[in-house]
Structure formats: structure tokens, C-alpha cells
Symmetry: C2
Subunit: 338 residues, 2 copies
Amino acid sequence: MAKIDDVARLAKVSKGTVSNVFSQKRRTSKEVTERVLSVSRQLNYVPNHIARSLVTKKTMAIGLTIPHGNFFFSAFHNQFINGVVLEASYHGYRVLLDMIPTQQVKTPFLSSYPIDGAVVMSPTTDDERIRLLHMDDIPFVTVGRVMNADIENAPSVDNDNERMMHKIVRYLADKGHRSIMFLNANELMTVSIDRNEGFIRAMEERRLQVEAHMIHHKPAILSNEYMDYGYAETLNVLGGQGRGVTAIIADDDRTAFSSLNALKELGLRVPEDVALFVICGDLSMMVQSNPSLTSMDLRPSELGAQSVRLLMHKLGVLTDHFPENIVVESTIVERNSC
Amino acid sequence: MAKIDDVARLAKVSKGTVSNVFSQKRRTSKEVTERVLSVSRQLNYVPNHIARSLVTKKTMAIGLTIPHGNFFFSAFHNQFINGVVLEASYHGYRVLLDMIPTQQVKTPFLSSYPIDGAVVMSPTTDDERIRLLHMDDIPFVTVGRVMNADIENAPSVDNDNERMMHKIVRYLADKGHRSIMFLNANELMTVSIDRNEGFIRAMEERRLQVEAHMIHHKPAILSNEYMDYGYAETLNVLGGQGRGVTAIIADDDRTAFSSLNALKELGLRVPEDVALFVICGDLSMMVQSNPSLTSMDLRPSELGAQSVRLLMHKLGVLTDHFPENIVVESTIVERNSC
DNA sequence: TTGTATGCGTTATCAT
DNA sequence: ATGATAACGCATACAA
């Protein structure tokens, strides 16, 4: 691999000049620029990213930390990552995919982390990743509210979880539903906490009773029940005993489908007997489902893009004024399940 | 941030010794080791990854290049990435997510690429990414066969595409189907080419006619028809004209659901009137669909893990004997759609 | 087992 | 506008 000295020698300029031709940090005459570029092409030269990083102290990469464990992307994650990668590359940044595996790995943090900043997905209460980032002084943006005890004012991007639940409850209540079951996300995630509160508050506002059997949380990702979440709950609560639940809010598409299956087994029709409402989910799946599923669009791709944009401000790449906490509006998409 | 000299001074050793304590490349006495570690903790020191990379010429990161464009992960991609990240982290490697966006970005290849190797998903004929990697002498492994003109003997991981199609056709033919429609992946992908050949050959072997209306290819990812692929084709071919198609092979879950929807609209029952077979797809979706879909399991997570393992051999991280081209066995999972 | 000196390839500072 | 040179923080060959 050719180095900067080779180019400098052949182009009869100093290495400083070659450096400037590539970094554009100060002007170079058209003449020299072209000579350098020509020689570089000839030698197949490109600046060494590592050496550059060593002196600039910028890696031009951001980390994307993903929910830990033997994770399983949902449609939400997909589109979110989409938004992140696209927006990052737009600013010249690369994305380092990252997870905190449950099993011990060879090099956890044996050396510094070669990223300029990070996007943290689905923070949990007292999130380990956030602790680490904070300790290492790496700027980060979370998607969802941070609830670590010692950290305040963390920049974040989030949906309006409270309002979202109000909107959903209102929507269902207006259709006459009084007993609504909420199949929430995992209880450790901060968004799930916010949504829970929103749900309960919205129900109370409407003078609707919230009973224990009406709120459930997705099991840990590695548990056996994970894949079946929604099925057993629906069977239990809507089967036999007749607790009077007439509407179900499901956390994601997988959960919704599980629930839908249980409903079919129980001989309950959607939406005639029971309404099914999905939070987010894969658009094409929602549409192609039978019946198509009414859902709350969380706009994950937008969440991803905004989180990167916010991070770019933290990194000083973008300098116009920008809020510290961005709320991405979520909207109800009516289909045929409610 | 503390540097190696600070630690050396406080621990009263040379920087070379500090270096060795962390890299473990040569023994250090227990005494010294502990003193160094203790001081490091005290100063919150960790070796600088960039500086280390500059001299070792290893970034401890691999690239994962994803189908270009405003891409859209499918269940296959999800699980694949899962396998890649998990296996990579097991060997102490990080994963740099990478895409070649359609829109022009700021820094395409303005500087060298800070990865030790790459995994290339879904190679196309004359793949640009492969050209670049090859030019830059970056070891890479493809998932699917390489068809670039100037590249031979590229290490790869793949399913047995030919055999797979034989198995599927045999399976369907044994159930009495003689006219089978194949909703294949995008025609640029090498796997789709292989599967096409396999399909045609398998049909011929069984003396079954392959007509033009029986083979379709997924439109480009940015086109309007992309999301609807499967729907229009099913409507056209199985509607009105009655071309006698009694079985459909769909490339992925999205396509299958589209097709399923069209079948419902046509009043055709699955599997009574038409058999529907899915290649890969999201397990939980397949199961929860109604009817549950019989499918070919491509084992994407295994593909991901194996591709990383193969790459590790290319990088000299793993040294035992290992084949250059790995075939991951795919198996039929029978459900209720055929 | 440990210390010393050199180099990795670039950017930045200070000249000119 | 360009050149010369000192960092950047570490690993490693060689010396002790």
C-alpha cells in the first residue's frame, strides 16, 4: 500500500501538501492538486484511516448498541437501523454494530472503543451500556428515556409514549370498549414503563377499571415463553372465565399475530368480537394480515435518523440549534382490526 | 485520558511492560502485572485502540455489507446478522455495518477502510462491493456465489441452491402438482440465478413443462412494485385465464403473504386448491400464519456464523483446516400450506 | 523478566 | 501556497 511519502516524492511536494489535498483543510493550488491526485491514482493511494484517526482523534464511526442477548430483530429494529445507517452515511459516518452478548466474549472493553459517539437502542432501567459510555465520556443518544440513577439530561429521541397510549385508549374507548388488555413490551425497557403509566392514566381518565389481568409484559428475550408471548395471555384472559376483555393492544407484530392465533382458536372474530390494536409492526405484514391490523405507527426510520442527527450535534458536526430531547410523533393507521 | 506513559511512570515500569500486561504477548511477573493493573484501574486506563491498530495493522473489526439501496431487512437478514455479530464478537471482532447507498454520500472511499475483512451479503452479478474489496486487498467472504468476471475461487458460504430447488420440486410433484409457479428473488442476485437453474432442471427431470408465466423475479428494491411482489403475479397467473398453476414457491415471507392475500381474493383455498411453499422466512410468522406455511429453512443464523468462521480462517485467526466453500444444508419444514 | 529506541502513517504547528 | 518537523499512543525488535 502506497503511503503519503511515496505520493509526496513522486508529485514533488511535501507530505503536508498531499495531506491537504485530501483533507481539504487548507487551500492548495489547482496545479498541485491535480498533480497529487494524478500520482495518487497511479499509486492507488488513499489516506490511512487509522493513522488519521490517531492524530485527529476522530474515528468517523458511531456505535449502535442493540438490545443484549441472543437478540431478535423486529420490524421496528429493522427500520430503525435503516434510518441510522442512512443518516450516518450521509454525514460521512460509519456504523459499528454492537451488542452486549450474554455469553462472555474475548475482548469486551480491553481497549478503548473506536467510536466518536453512540446510539443506544431500547435503554433499560439502570442500563449497563449507558454506564459504560458515560464512564468513557463517549457522547451518546438514547432512543427512549434514560433512567439510570446517576445520569440526567441525557439527549434522547423518543415517541410520545404517554400521549400515544392516551390516543390508543381514546380510540378504543370511543368504539365502546371498556375492558382493554395491554400486551406491553419487556418491563425493563423504559418505553414500556412510560407506556404503562400512560395506559393506566388514560384508562383512569375514562373511568375505566384497570385490573391485574389486563397488563402483561413481554418475557425476557431468552426465555421459552418469548416466542409465544401474546398467545398464552390471550388464551388465558379471553378463554373460559369470561373477564369481559373486548380489546387487545399488542406491543409488536409478533405479539399481535400470536394473539390473533389464540383468538382464532377461541372462535373469536376480529374485529366483531375483539378489537386488536398493534403498536408499530411491519407495515407490509400489517396490511397482508387477515384482517389487516390497525396500528400505531412509531416511525422507526425517522427515530433512527433523528437520533443520528442529534448525535451529530453532540459531536459538533452539525451546529445549528437543536433540541436535546426529540419527540417523534406517532399516528394511528386505521385498518380493519378494531 | 491516561496514556501508557502515565501508567508506566506510576507503576515504576517501562511502557513496554505495560504494553505486555495488556496484550499478553509475553509473560510478565505476577508482581508487576498486578501493580500495572492496579495503577491502570486507578487512572482509568485502557490501551488506545487506534494507536494499537496503527502498529499492529489490525482493526479487529469486520465489515458487513448489506444489499444496497434503501434496503429493507427481511427475516433472513435479521437472523443472518444475528449470527454474524455473535460469532464475530466471540472472536473478539466488531462488526461495521455497511451499505452502498444509492444516493451519493460525503465520504465514499476517501480513506482506507478500517476493517480486517468483510462479509458480503447477497452478491450480485459483477458486484461493485466485491470489486472494491478485491482492489483493496481486503479478505472477504460472500454469502452466495461470486460471479464477478475477474474473480475466481472466492471463499463463500451458501445454501445448496440447486439441490434445494430439486427438493422443493420433488416435494410438490410428489403431492401431485404439475404446474408450479416460482416467485424468485431479484434476478441480479447470484442465488436467484442458481435457484432458477435448479428449478428448471428439477422440473425437466420430472418431465414438467416450465412456461414463461411460471417464473418471476422480485423487482428492484426501490421500485413501487417491490412491496407488492407476489400479489399481482398471483392474481394474474391464477386468476381468470386458468393456467392450471396449483402450487407456488415464494422467495420469502413477504412475498408469500402477498401471494396468500391474492389467493384469498381469488377465493382459492390453501392448501386445498393451491399449495404455497416459502423459502426461508421468519419462523414465528410462518407458524402464526393461517394456514401455517410449509417452508425451506435456510438457517440464516448458521450462514452468518459460518461466514464469519470462514473469514476468521482467511484472517489467520483460526488455523485449523477449513473448506473454502461452505454449504449449509437447508431442510424442509412441513406445515399446513401444501 | 524488563527496559530502550524506533517506527506505524498521518495531521498540525510553525516557518518560509 | 507550500515545506519541515514534531506530535499522536502504542507495539516490537533488540539489548540488558
